[in-house]
Structures are given as C-alpha cells and as structure tokens.
Amino acid sequence: MSRLIAVRVLQAVPVILIVSVLAFLLITLLPGDPAVVIAGDQASPEAIAAVRHNLGLDKPLIEQLGIWFIHLVQGNFGSSLMLNQSVLSAMGERLPVTLSLAALSILITLPVGIFAGVIAAYYRQTWVDTLVMTLALIGVSAPAFWIAILSILFFGVYLRWLPTSGYMPFLQNPALWLRSLVLPALILSLFQIGFLARMTRSAMLEALGQDFVRTARAKGLSEWKAVGKHAFRNALILIVTAIGILLSTAIGGSVVLEQVFALPGVGRLVVQGILARDYPLVQGVMLIYGFAFVLINLAVDLLYTLLDPRVRYD
C-alpha cells in the first residue's frame, strides 16, 4: 500500500508541474493588465506604468515564470496583487467556506443519490424509474444560478426561514453556520444527486443482470441481501468513481453559488482573481486545486483495492 501511495504521489509531480505552467501561461496570455485593475479604470498611463513596475510585471514573461518557480520551490506561492496578501493565507481564509459547502452538499448527495439510483434500477421501466430519472434529469439540467435566486426569494424573503446570504464560521456559531449553508448546499447537491442517481442506476442495472445475483436469488436469499449485499457491493466501484468526480465538482461547482449567496469562498476568490488578472493568485489556486484533485483520485484508487480484491496494483 505504501508503495502504491509513493508511486501515485510521484506520478502526481509532473501533473502538478504541467498544471502550474499551464496556469501561468493561460492567465498571462489573456489580454488585459492587472496594473490597470489596481491603478483604477481611469488611471493615467504613467500611473499604470508605476504600478506595473512596482509589481514586477514589466519583467519578461519567462523571467516572471522563473521567479514564480523559484518561490514555489521555497514554499512561497506568492502574493495576491489585488489583496496584498499571500496566496496561501488568502486560500486558508476562504477554504473552510468552500469545504463546508462541499462537505454539506456531499452529505446530502450520498444517501439521496445512491438510494434514488438503487430504487430506479430495482424498479426499472416502471413509473418509479421514470419519476426518479426525470427528477435526476431536472437536477442535472436546471441552472444553479436560477434555482439559487428563486430559493433566496422563496425561503429567504417570502418564508423568512433562512438568511438570504452571508456566512458564519462554524467555530463562532454552529447553528448560524448551518443556517447560512443549508440553502446553497441543497442547491449544489441537486446537480450531484441527479448525476449520482443516474450513475448508480446504471451500475446497479449491470450488477442486477449478472449471474451471481440470479444465483443468490435461486438459493433463496432475501431480496434485501441479493440486491443490497451482492449487487450493490459490485456496483460500488462505479459509484465510488462517481463520488470522486462529485468531490471535484463540488469544489469547482461552488463558484456560482458563492457569488449568488455572497459566500467568501475560494470560488469567488478565483473569479475575482481572473477578472483582475491577479496572476499569482490564480496560479496558486489552480496549483492547489490540481494537487487536491490528484489526492482525490489517489483516495479513489485506494478505495478500489478495499472494495475489490481482484484489483491488483503491484
């Protein structure tokens, strides 16, 4: 197991390097100038040039890339141009918001999505299957932005059950933390439930058609054991893969909801960073996200070995 982890971490190094160079090139190749954003919409060319010089943006691109890599090796992700704050510290402040949102949405998604998928597969080609898959399709297709606005108006303004926006840190007030996140987490999980239900249904349909399920039923096992133990366990490989993807999309998919609900998370930070051409910030966040996704994939791979003894990596 330790060898597997070592190999996968080593494999991740070139991935991270490629991600970091791509992040640098993509953001710097965009037209627009961070000095203009910092100096202001109506700053004179002299003022813009002064800002550019102060920030080292007048250096050749390759020199800027070199400086960034040297700093990276030293554990310095650089400082955000617009926040005047280190990228790691900016990420550290906002990560709890994004992770809270992602974790809550996954907590909602897993039981609902898997249950809906199993039920749809078990009652395939009945009205239950049609209903579940229709709802899943709506969940996958409905724009999160639109649902978020409607939810704010209904639950926040009309019913006054939940706050319309904002965030409260868990350590300051757990109850308000939950109240501030429940609506965005529910909306984020709508897409995820739809996706997971469809994936689970597909995996379960394949498993339910296998010989070992027929054998299990033939030897008199209860439906619960035949489906819940034998079929479901064999479908888990695909479901775990789907959950890995969901974890990634939960973090990435929070961008729109953080904007609408005014949550000070990483997604909102990245949007602002891109709009302001905040090179160090966007590069740093992309690098950290890249690393996080590699870790998620590694965790999924490790789960495969636990779930399926046939999987041999060494």
């Binding site: 965009l30 037209p31 627009g32 100038d33 203009v36 954003v37 910092i38 100096a39 202001g40 919409d41 109506q42 700053a43 004179s44 060319p45 002299e46 003022a47 813009i48 002064a50 800002v51 102060n54 617009m82 926040l83 005047n84 704050q85 900016a90 402040e93 906002r94 606005i149 704010i152 108006l153 926040g156 303004v157 006054r160 706050p163 319309t164 926006s165 904002g166 965030y167 904007q259 609408v260 609900f261 005014a262 000070p264 909102r268 930070l269 602002q272 709009l275 302001a276 051409r277």
Partner: protein, 521 residues
C-alpha cells in the same frame, strides 16, 4: 501673502488673489438623530487595500473617506474647503503654500496630528502613489512648528489645492510612523469619524465610531466631505454581495439597510415596499464614446466627426435606462469650469444622418470596417455600443462589434493597445476637479498624438493665472476634444441606491459614501 480661511477654497485657489469666500450651505440637518445602532451596508465587492495614497476604486474609497481625512477636500458645492487645515495661504507668486493645522486632532491611535505627520504623509504620497506626478513640482516641505506646514514649489502652481482635494488617490494624512510603509502596507489609522474594526476580505468589514473624533467646530454642520462631522452610528458593517438580486433580498428582509448599485430594471422591487426607498445619486460621472485616434479609420478627423454627427443621444439613454441627463460639456453644471448652457456646443447630440453621410463622402469612406469594442461586464456599456452600432450602420458604415471582458476593454483604452475604433466608458471626478485632472485621460483614452491645437490650448491653460481666461481655454480644449471627435459625450449619469427609511439623515451631496450624520430610527 493672501490668507484664506476655512471657506470655499476652489474659487479662491483658482483666483489665487485669495478673497475669502462664503461658507456653503451644509447638507440637510437631522430632525432628531439617535445615537447608536449598527448599519449594515451591502456593496458589490470589498476593498483590496485601505491605503488611501494608492486607492482609486470606489469600494476602497467608500471606506477610506470615513476613516481618513485630508488637509483640503470638496464641500457640498464641489469647491475646495479646508478639513485638517485651519487656514491656508498662498504667496503672490503661487510658489509657496502655508497650511495652519487644526489643533487637538487625534489619530485613532490616540496621538495628536502635527505637521510632522503631514510632511511624512506628503513624502510617502510622493514615493508610493500612482498619482505622485502631481507632486513633481514640489521643491521642499517645511514644518516651522507643530501646527504649520509649508510647501515650497519649484514653479508657480495655481491649481495645487485643486489637485490636493481630489477624492481619488486622496491626499489623506497618516501618522508619521507610516512614512516608510510600502504601498498597500499601512496600518489603517486615520483621523476620521470611524476607525477600522474587523475586516474579513471578500466577506465583511466593520467600522466603529471613533469616540475621540475631533470635529471641525467652526462649521455649522456637514458640508460635502468637509464640515462638522458627527458620528451617530455605533458601527457600520459592510457586506460584500456581488449579485444585485441578493442585495435587494437582504434589504427586503432587513439584513441590510443600505444597498449600492441597483439595476434600473429592479427599481420597482424597492419602490413596491413602503418601508424602502430609492436614492438617485446624481451626477456620478459622465458617459462617453471613446474614439481611438491612432487606429485605422478613426485616425481621420473627418471620419471621427462623421461618427459624432450620426449619434442620437436620446436613443442611447432610452435604451440604457437609469439616471441620465444631457450635458454637452466635460464639467458638471455649477462647477467652476462649466461653460454654461449658452456656450455653443454644435458637436453634441447632432443626430444628423445626412451630415454624417456628407462627411463620410468628404472623407472618401469606402466601406472599410469600423471596430467597436465593448464588454459583457457592464450592461450599460454593451447596450450603448449596440445602439451606436445601429446608428452607424444606418449611415452606411460597415460596423463590427467585438465583445471582450472589462479588464481587456479598459486596458485597451487606457494604453491605446488592441484593435478598436470605438469604445465607451464613464469618467467621474474630473467633471468636478477640472481641466488639469482631465488632461492625462484625454490624451491616453483617445490615444491623441501630435494635435498641436490641443497641446497649445493646454499649454496656455497651465500658464494662465486668470480664472476667466482659463475657463475660455477650457472651452477651446473641449472644442478640440469633442468637436474633433476624440470623445463623444453621451450624458451625465447617476446611480441608484436603495435604503430602509429608518436610515435617516443621508446627505444630498452625490459623493462617495458618507457615514457621518446619519442614524437609525
């Protein structure tokens, strides 16, 4: 040496002879303001820095103008008025300015402000501010005593105080201990009526009432950014909410009591509720079509004039909506440089397709492509340029509209880069501050090079000591800029804010957010 007291200083500074001018009427007085309470204010985004010497964005200045104070500032009529200075005098040759400081003014740290703090602030400004070029003419500073600060200039400068009153890149006074702090690296300590409390970037920022604030008791009440300021609120919580619908929802549920930037199409949601109201902040700026005078077709003056002739301002403002009023000039009415309604402005709102076609023929136009660049971030800009495109197509021009994001769009305009002929933007305080502030923007945005008439008019302006003659020269400058088709003025524009009616005593001055003299009922 002419002595000017704590009065309207703009005209005094402009006239330099230095007559003491009348005090201007302060903003509306509160019937019965109540002390206490926390105001929650929803704004679009949060500040990146609170260093006043490098700040030009509105979200930063909204905090800065409540925390810091300058020596001179704008009053209710946009004239210059002393704030931390008690009086100001200029030598007859306008090479020496002496500021007598108010005594007993305290920083939030508890220390008294002295001339050493003023000198340190000015020196820091000259080192870190993108606007430092305005201090290039300074020979040396002098502090003969703790309450006297003297600026010695290398050359006469009749508009020094006009420069120092600017609300963007403001000349705020910091403690001397901040002198060597880098740009964006100061401790946020000022002399203003509010001090900085908690600040969680992207989430919220809290300002607390500074109970040791030393108000200017020589003024009867507030007066623009100047005057006697009284802080009634215990604290103000800024909440950063990018989505307009969310901001309005928070106002409807009383989670906030004041909201900036309401889209005109959502105005009805506010006005439908009896406890809420809309405030029109006007004028906030002037909107312009910017013509790139160094790229392709629009390098030709006659083509630029043809474009100006085709424009129908009414169609644009109707499509854009919101608060817009026609004004042909680059100064607001009732500001010192406004030429008056009777001064001819034949270039404005011509709506004459015939004249445009005639000029295009005269210029030898052969269906070459005209590129309009606009952005998806600001709806009013996009709508404006789409209407302009249709108006130009109607006179037979071959128009290509290109969409980019605002950062790219702004970079192209400010640096003359990219491939574009027409774009649009809004200019703000220059309409108040006058021709000296306009100069770098005019040259940069329209990409003007080698216009001898404009160069000569500006040269004359800076060397002319008489205000009336400088006004005439400003008209000449505008005749060249607007008549020559570098800029096409659209209108003076405002913005909509919304508030709960229990928030009382808001100023009628259309400036940056002022939190003093307002209270919660």
């Amino acid at each position: 040496m002419a002595v000017l007291g704590r009065r309207d200083f703009t005209r005094g500074a402009l006239a330099v002879a230095g007559a003491v001018l009348s005090r201007l009427a302060p903003g509306r007085a509160l019937a019965d303001p109540k002390k206490g309470g926390t105001l929650a204010y929803a704004s679009v985004s949060g500040p990146g820095t609170l260093d006043p010497h490098v700040s030009s964005s509105l979200v930063e200045l909204e905090v800065i103008h409540n925390v810091f104070e300058p020596l001179v500032t704008l009053d209710n009529a946009n004239a210059t008025k002393a704030m931390l200075a008690a009086s100001i005098s200029a030598s007859p040759d306008c090479k020496t300015y002496t500021f007598q400081l108010r005594k007993g003014v305290k920083f939030h740290s508890g220390e008294e402000m002295t001339s050493a703090d003023v000198q340190a602030s000015m020196e820091r400004y000259g080192r870190v501010s993108p606007n430092a070029a305005n201090l290039a003419g300074v020979d040396r500073y002098e502090t003969p005593d703790p309450y006297t600060f003297v600026v010695h200039l290398k050359e006469p400068n009749v508009v020094l105080l006009d420069v120092m009153k600017a609300p963007i890149f403001p000349f705020m006074i910091l403690p001397a201990s901040q002198k060597d702090k880098p740009a964006r690296g100061i401790d946020v300590v000022g002399t203003g009526p509010f001090s900085l409390g908690e600040w969680v970037k992207d989430s919220h920022l809290v300002l607390n009432r500074f109970d040791n604030y030393t108000a200017d008791i020589t003024s009867p009440g507030r007066d623009g950014y100047a005057g006697r300021k009284t802080a009634y609120l215990d604290s103000v919580r800024f909440r950063f909410m990018p989505e307009a619908t969310t901001r309005i929802a928070a106002l409807q549920t009383d989670e906030v009591q004041l909201v900036s930037s309401i889209p005109p199409e959502l105005r009805g949601q506010i006005e439908a509720r009896p406890e809420l109201a809309i405030r029109e902040i006007f004028p906030l700026g002037g909107t312009y079509i910017i013509v790139n005078s160094q790229y392709g077709l629009t390098a030709n003056r006659t083509i630029r004039q043809a474009i100006a002739a085709a424009i129908d301002i009414g169609e644009i403002t109707e499509a854009v909506g919101g608060v817009n009023k026609p004004n042909a000039w680059m100064s607001y009415p009732n500001t010192p440089y406004y030429p008056g309604e009777k001064t001819p402005s034949p270039w404005y709102d011509q709506k004459s397709p015939e004249r445009a076609k005639e000029l295009l023929t005269q210029a030898g136009y052969k269906n070459e492509k005209l590129i309009i660049e606009t952005n998806g971030n600001y709806q009013w800009m996009r709508t404006t340029m789409l209407v302009v495109a249709e108006q130009l197509k109607a006179v037979g021009m071959n128009v290509d509209v290109r969409m980019v994001d605002w950062t790219t769009n702004a970079s192209h305009m400010q640096q003359g880069s990219g491939e574009w002929n027409l774009s649009t933007t809004l200019f703000g305080p220059e309409h108040i501050l006058g021709p000296q502030q306009w100069r770098p923007l005019i040259y940069a945005f329209a990409n003007i090079k080698g216009d001898d008439a404009l160069d000569a008019a500006y040269k004359g302006f800076f060397s002319e000591p008489d205000l009336d003659k400088r006004r005439e020269l400003w008209v000449k400058i505008q005749e060249e800029v607007l008549g020559g088709g570098y800029f096409i003025k659209i209108a003076d524009a405002g913005r909509l804010w919304a508030y709960a009616k229990k928030l009382q005593g808001q100023s009628d001055y259309p400036g940056i957010l002022q939190l003093w003299d307002i209270s919660l009922a």
